[in-house]
Amino acid sequence: MEKSDYLNLYHQMVVIRRLEERAAELYQQGKIGGFLHLYIGQEAVSTGLISARRAEDRVITAYRDHGVAINCGLSAKEIVAELLGKATGCSQGMGGSMHMADVKKNYWGGHAIVGAHLPIAAGLALGDLYQNQKAVTLCMFGDGATNIGYFHEALNLSKVWNLPILWVCENNQYGMGTSVERASAVSEIRQKADGFGMKNYQVDGMDVLKVREVAEKLFKEIRAGSGPQFLEVDTYRFRGHSMGDPERYRSTDEVHRWQENDPIGIFHKKLVEMKVAGDAELNHQADLAEQEIAEAVAFAEASPEPSVDVVFSNVYVEN
């Protein structure tokens, strides 16, 4: 990795952090509606994973999707615009926070029904296999999603058909207010992949370089025809499940303990220790992120509302 690669990863993580902090403010001001699920605390997961993908690899995730969008190369402008429901948003203001996508960047969304995108991911991988494309589908989902039938059907199918897919469970310890132990028969979620005879791994999701390293290995193997593999990433969401979560299910102590492992703080320290960059240089990245998000908010606020025609013209392809 070159110095610019490291700085690029760092930049993406601070952009996500700042984006999410601003999104929370915009929500409080009533400018964002609906549900808003923040990625704060989990930035290293998608940043590490997606840094290991090639342009032809597809990415699909759940509704906690703004960070993933940044990593896939969507601009902060079109993301904030989508949050504000504007015509310039990545889904033209039709989808909102939970339904962002940019298929040109191989980012296939942003899916709000828990687990529903897993069988779809299997289908994306099938499309590539069928057409002899050497592409891998990266499918991300939460710990809670591993308890719904869709998960089991999709994993089984992917193994039976040897689909080129990397299943990644972002274990942030809770599905809404229900801890993994209270909802899942096994709390080491990777064990579920054993049931499908699928190779599985676990990695510290607070360390972006560790995530990247294992992702690189898995993308490579899957691209070479290994079939589906499974990765459990241990992480934590620092904020509530969505805005307005009373957070009665966890202690502030627990939250603080995890916050001491802030993925951005860890990476910052590591880059300084590795002598890749100094504090000033890294703080400059944070300033750039601040500026990028400020511009994105200004752009989104100045953007027009979508025309009603967009609603009608997109119900079907053939009208």
């Binding site: 549900f35 809404m176 299910y249």
Partner: protein, 323 residues
Amino acid sequence: MARITMREAISQALWEEMERDPKVFIMGEEVGLWGGTYAVTKGFYDHFGADRVRDTPIAEAAIIGGAIGAALTGLRPVAELMTINFAFSAFDHIVNQAAKMHMMFGGQMVLPLVIRAVGGGGRQLGATHSQTPDAIFAHFPGLKVVAPGTPADAKGLLKAAIRSQDPILFIEHATLYQTRGEVPEGDYIVPIGKSTVARPGKDVTIVTYSKMLEISLKAAETLAKEGIEAEIVDLRSLRPLDMDPVIESFKKTNRAVVVEEGWKSFGVGSEIAARIYEEAFDYVDAPVKRVAQTEVPLPYNHILEQMMLPKVEDVISAVKEVL
């Protein structure tokens, strides 16, 4: 009588039924420790304990399937679907299992099961989370579908549902939880499958239910100022569907508008209009009008979403068209 919110009324019905009958229990996502996503079961977990207020994994098919099995053993589960949009993940168990079992096994199997689910649009949740698919469920014989529009009906109908021997889908509307109304204290039961006149009038019949009752009542107020007296019939249950108050009203007004939040095609309005033509054709002075959601998946954008949902003005202009 106390003036309480719809949320409190539903909560009260659940609480009282759980106190009355130890066979009644709750299962669903975030119903316990969290206190219910919409705070309906706040305080239940501490009072009734984890055995009777059961937090489930995210597994809608297992929630409804499990509740069916428990009901077959004589328990009275109240299974909660966090929103009705997730009922599609349990669709087989609702319409193909719960709705069939009593008849298909020759009456041997009895399922005293209540499924609570909240629906409705208008909160910028996007297309997957904003639906009002009530009519789909009302299509299936064997399932009863109840959808109250007032706090009193919510309490009385939920108590009736919990005491019923049949599987019942109890549909709440997310934007009604804060609505206040007089609710009788204690054992107050509203029979399932009985429509009611929510507002008397003589010029036109408005047939509606759930959230659209509120919209229709507002429209009727405005119309009254112009000298038009609308009679509003609140269906309260979609199946069984009680047409008597509708037909009685129609025979007086000879004009009807049906107001529903879901999509128009194959909807509640289509059913009501057909029944009016079948049962009161000689009394028809104007085609029955349907007010419903524009036939698109709901957009996230606030302005466009509101544009797609039925509004007070839509009801007013529909009434004027049939007059």
